[in-house]
Assembly symmetry: C2
């Protein structure tokens, strides 16, 4: 019976292109306080109403001067300027031949156009001696140097970082429109599973579901966990249909291969997807499938941990990013040398993923592969990155340069943790 | 008056060594549910009590066999085995000449030691024809292959990732001891500052404090914000003393240079630190200072945003990591080519930091420097990494290879966002 089922593999590039062309999200917006904006995605364009700084300000503690008063100064013939006090007040003015003490960040007094740092002057009774000529705006941050009034600061789709939050506050924006995070229902499929700790001795605890849920949250989605779905086509169909009612994205885990009890594809296919992808040319992860049902993406991940992880970063992650309203993102990679020869004989017409442990040796990175069946979680625990081996390549030599992808959903600091 | 104050710069390497030798944290532990363990730091060693898998299990949907029954099979002379049903039950046994259907992940029936994948057999009435000989444990995940009972899984100091959480649950660990996150009081110093939005037109809003607080949270600390501290030595002294009462780490922002109203060093120095660092040889960020007061670290950051950021990753971040109980971490860097010539004439005996925007061009990274005064936030908004230029180096050629550090506290996906 199961022999009737089969895959119709397409390349990961074709799959990505189809997904990006076909999925049309219309993410909703919400207005939040800028102090909550970190790691959220901007849903408006931001233009500054103000100049930062709003005046010409001093970059040093020192003396504000009229640059032209100093043009003739030299170490032989210092210029002597009369110190006027209270000059830190903005409405204050200095006249030709005058100077005034000024602190870093304070506006220049009227008349002044330059600052002499304190260590370059010689202070005498009510006067300073200046030995170097100064140019207009020297040691001055001119009005609008950081941000100009009318300048476009951020565009829709920008992902906020801590420094972005600071700049928003500096231009006195206290609330921003951001896209709502996409809701992702995670449906584990399998009679053998439970998500009750109390039943973990009788059944298999759905730990993969929790791993995927954490990765969804780290990627900017809101994971929604539901009851375990039993291995029965109509049950799966109804669970997915219900999930589509509340979610922006649905992901299933398990039951997506062609075995006797694998009904996930059949169930989702019966919901008449307008786009179908039945398997992708990457191993592990080849069973990863997709259906666009009622214009909502349904990603079918494998039940084996490594396969599910590959399906996550190949298909689910880009869809979550799309649903977040985020503009194009490049996944950073790291160049390393392979620490051991790696020979790969299976699925040679596919891309192949192998997990590696990155070690830094004298400032260079060495990638040590950890090999083992796609059901083994320990491989992922021992590693911090992965290499994607191109189609038809069967050997990576020891010392060969490879690009290492970071395991997804991980903070940079965690990548190279030493055990 | 301010000319009496001065720095006593030491190298960043010396500073780091002194800090790591002198600071003795005794992080407290707390027991949490393993579902909350992601990004927390383990405070115990974890040894597995169980084998994963707990039985020899099938890696494929197929037929469980006794390997010796198949030794004589060939494409010319297939071996015929009698199918016995109900064989998915663990207590079931197959006898010589028998086989039983089996699903991926299910335990092998007693007697069986190998699995033939379904696509390799020919099913006939109550029998299967096998054309290839099979070896013991072929297509089988042996008991304990993922995790062995008695195996050390994680050591104290391990930072949990999603896959680590999964493995803990697989070995049926539902609660773990983790280190409490270090509390970091952030004290902004300056009469010109306010942290009330309502006063942001009269005073400067303390946006840098919020940026640093977010970065502390992203680095695994708990930021605690307090009232703005006025520029007065005794006020600063009392605020820091109070902060030391509730915090594991204190960081000040501003007032740490040698200007007329810079009292931070003087105030903290009056608390009799057992270790003092007055300035570090890196620019921007050179005013970053340190005092170990009552065995608690007090980091003094500059008030300019770029200087504060450099002080953060040079001094505050390693201290937060130390206080988190985390074991050694390497900051990942990325190799890039400089996109423009960069000439640096100031502070040549110091390390110099320049912020760069990383662009990926044909799979290679190009670093474009964005230059501007250390008070400019816009430079940090336009960039996603930084290079550290060694002492006495004054020129980086266009095309020269550089190591780019990621801006701290940022998720890898954010690093290469395209604007």
């Amino acid at each position: 019976m199961w022999l009737n089922k089969k895959f119709d593999y397409i390349s990961t590039e074709s799959a990505h292109k189809l997904l990006m062309q076909s999925i049309k999200f219309q993410p909703k917006r919400e207005s939040i306080s800028v102090s909550e904006a970190n790691s959220r995605v901007l849903a408006e364009n931001i233009v500054s109403d103000v100049n930062i700084p709003s005046f010409d300000v001093s970059h040093f503690d020192g003396y504000a001067v009229r640059a032209e008063d100093t043009y003739k100064a030299s170490s032989q013939k210092p210029v002597c300027l009369r110190v006027v006090s209270q000059a830190n007040k903005q409405e204050y003015r200095i006249n030709p031949g005058e100077t005034a003490p000024i602190l870093t960040g304070n506006p220049l007094p009227a008349g002044a156009d330059s600052v002499i740092p304190v260590e370059r002057i010689k202070l005498e009774e009510e006067a300073v001696k200046i030995h170097h000529s100064s140019k207009p705006l020297e040691h001055v941050i001119p009005k609008g140097r950081d941000v100009k009034a009318g300048e476009k600061i951020f565009k829709t789709g920008h992902l906020f970082r801590p420094q972005d939050t600071k700049l928003l506050m500096d231009i006195k924006i206290w609330n921003v429109w951001v896209f709502k995070k996409p809701k992702v229902v995670v449906a584990s499929i399998g009679n053998e599973l439970t998500n009750c700790v109390e039943q973990a001795d009788l059944k298999k605890f759905s730990s993969l579901e929790i791993m995927i849920a954490i990765m969804i949250a780290e990627s900017g989605g809101i994971p929604i966990r539901i009851e375990i779905v039993q291995d029965e086509p109509e049950t799966i169909r109804q669970a997915v249909r219900r999930a589509l009612g509340e979610a922006d994205i649905v992901t299933t885990i398990g039951g997506s291969s062609v075995g006797e009890k694998d009904y996930t594809w059949e169930a989702i296919n019966s919901l008449n997807p307008s786009l179908k992808i039945r398997g992708i040319k990457i191993h592990p992860g080849r069973v990863t499938s997709f259906g666009l049902v009622e214009n909502k993406p349904v990603v079918m991940l494998a039940g084996h941990v490594q396969s599910a992880l590959v399906g996550f970063f190949t298909m689910l992650l880009p869809i979550i990013q799309l649903g977040s309203g985020i503009t194009a993102i490049v996944q950073p990679t790291l160049e390393a040398k392979m620490g051991e020869k790696l020979a790969i004989e299976e699925f040679v017409s596919f891309k192949r993923v192998r997990f590696v442990k990155l070690n830094e040796v004298n400032g260079h990175f060495i990638a040590i592969p950890e090999l083992g069946d796609s059901s083994l979680t320990s491989i992922l625990v021992k590693t911090n990155g992965y290499v994607i081996i191109n189609e038809n390549k069967t050997i990576i030599r020891k010392g060969e340069r490879v690009r290492v992808n970071f395991l997804p959903g991980l903070f940079p600091l965690q990548l190279l943790q030493r055990n």
